[in-house]
Symmetry: C2
Subunit: 363 residues, 2 copies
DNA sequence: TGTTGTTTTGCATAGCTATGCAATTTTCCG
DNA sequence: CGGAAAATTGCATAGCTATGCAAAACAACA
């Protein structure tokens, strides 16, 4: 019924003819500061100074230049400055997994923070680690000043590749460190402890740790914290269930659905992230007839918007994106500002427990 | 309007540090092709050719160059080429509203497509139309080749600002057109018709159109299609309820929650997007005691991942992101390839109805 | 070997702006 | 008004690579 768009039918081509022959030249050659200088009757230096705040130029000259620039449609060109200074004010942002709303939001905040610091975002989306190398080559060929990545830097090889760039790198939630590499981590281990204590207060006896892929170091840290917290609280030790595949809703759903066959019946679940937790809630109800929070208490991580949606009402840990981004900017500034060579710092931000209905047992 | 001086101001702090960086670079200078040439005992041209596929160079020379380059850690530099060719192979991508998973996914796909076409993404996140002007100035100062934006270009002023850049612009779901501006639209109106027909088949009698903000032209088109479809089908005409604020889950929830007081009791809702639809489902249950699909059939738009989550199981229209991105790339290639001046084309992609439980009335 | 044709190499340059420095103009003050 | 100080302006250049063109090396062939 809805057939593929026949775009030859729906397409409207509108070609606009030039009124003056001049604009065609403008395509071939952009308006330069020399053009403006000629039009304003000043030197090219004056044009440059008119657009550089704080430089030595009289109000009258600046006025003339700006007028000429406006009439010619001149736009300052930062490319030559990159060559001269060796600084492009571009930061390579390497991301993946935007289907997780947490990363999408983080990217948004990061982009805003970078913009406000006068830095541009050269975005590189990578599907897997394989494409990372060529992605880095590309970024570097544009002479980026630094790299910020939210990828969970899993392998030593990736760390080495990053270090060899001899560029400041700031990672989110990466456990590996090395020269040139700084990281901002959520306090994953601490949050795991808090999660376990919360279950202890509710008297849970059959906790389950719903783990993300083992290559995800942040997930591993959450699990370690949780299991330790469970031991500390004196609850019977937590059962580990690891999702197959990625840390998505479907993976969480499937992992819990499999419990049915195995005869496992948890009364509390701590999930490596919110999407998996939502999948778990639905699987419990649909496959096992268990309801949250009446039969099972559930906690996630990330505090994605959907955790607050009423159908899930999911207790979660907020990663405090704003703080983490602010820290990342600090580390970045520090790395960019120093002349002392490779900087490597780590910085940990506490996650905040957001209690919602999914852990309010109504027994 | 386009205050160029203003954004220069915000980079002053960083600029000062750049001086130090320059001074420092005199000591730790990036490896250039000249360094490699010296090390390999060849001319700088040879180095350039060794890294330009298809250029005239003997295997032996290339070998020497690559070896020297590897040992020095040389990385090709595209910045001078930008100056020479006037082409940066960077595309400015202007986005906002990543909290809507649909846009996040679209960005991911777009970034991938651009990368595969050898284009870089210079990302610009804008919170509102106010920051757009300065954002554009920044992008242009990096000599981007084109702009792609998923913002709903609402106002004539924005269109004019974009046109004045004299750069190819490709918009998603924008109704306004103009020189230099091409658009890829979802068939919003057609989808509205389809939605109405679906309700007609189910015998609904009290349809409600849950409208997004009136400035959103895509939302308006969906509403027009729906209302016309409702008329065509002979159902009593659809009631309009417009959200206050943005097109989010909360807005959808609140809009439906308000129905209670007004004594409105729909038996079918077509929502401007999925997030609002999810809010509507929850509000119906919590505030009015109505259940979906038993009491009310609900449809959304975008087919975000959450629409498939079992707690919502929402019928939706898939915007066929892959197709839309592919079309956008075609329009982009066309605009970049032509020398004939400003191109303006429009292209429409049908949305695909995804029927799920929210419209499977179990009466 | 000489000649012609082909491949490879190096030279020289363009591309545009920011900035140090010197020259010039303006301002200030005695 | 004169001269010193300050402000402004212009000149010249650096920054790095891709590429047209000419020169050189090489290959093929008689």
């Amino acid at each position: 019924m809805c057939d593929i768009a026949a775009w030859h039918d729906c397409t409207v081509a509108v070609r606009l003819r030039a009124k003056h022959a001049t604009w065609e030249n403008a395509i071939i050659r952009a308006v330069t500061s020399i053009d403006v200088a000629r039009a304003a009757g000043v030197s090219q230096s004056a044009v440059s100074r008119a657009f550089s705040p704080g430089s030595s130029i009289s109000a009258r000259t600046k006025q003339k230049v700006l007028a000429a620039a406006a009439s010619l449609g001149y736009r300052p060109n930062r490319i030559p400055a990159i060559m001269l200074s060796g600084r492009s004010f571009m930061v390579g942002v390497v991301i993946g997994g935007l289907e997780n709303p947490f990363y999408a939001t983080a990217l948004e905040r990061l982009a805003t923070a970078l913009r406000e610091s006068g830095l541009q975002v050269l975005l590189m989306h990578v599907d897997d680690a394989l494409t990372l190398d060529s992605a880095l080559d590309r970024l570097v060929s544009y002479r980026i000043d630094a790299i910020v990545t939210s990828l969970a830097i899993g392998s030593k090889a990736v760390v080495q590749a990053l270090s060899q760039l001899r560029l400041p790198v700031v990672c989110f939630n990466s456990s590996h460190v090395g020269p040139w590499i700084s990281t901002v981590n959520s306090n994953n281990h601490g949050a795991g402890l808090v999660a376990a204590r919360l279950l202890g207060r509710h008297g849970m006896q059959r906790p389950l740790w719903l783990a993300g892929p083992s290559r995800n170091s942040a997930s591993r840290a959450r699990g370690r914290g949780f299991c330790q917290g469970v031991r500390d609280t004196g609850i019977p030790s937590a059962r580990l269930v690891r999702v197959q595949g990625n840390d998505t809703y479907d993976s969480g759903y499937d992992a819990i659905a499999r419990l049915q066959k195995q005869g496992i019946r948890p009364d509390a679940i701590f999930s490596s992230n919110d999407m998996m937790a939502c999948g778990a809630i639905d699987a419990l109800r649909e496959c096992m007839g268990l309801h949250c929070p009446h039969d099972v208490a559930i906690m996630g991580y990330d505090n994605i918007p959907q955790a607050a949606w009423r159908s899930y009402d999911l207790t979660s840990f907020d990663q405090q994106t704003d703080q983490m981004v602010a820290r990342a900017m600090q580390l970045l500034d520090e790395a960019l500002g120093t002349q002392d060579g490779p900087v490597s710092r780590t910085c940990i931000v506490d996650a905040q427990l957001i209690e919602r209905g999914s852990t309010r047992a109504a027994r």
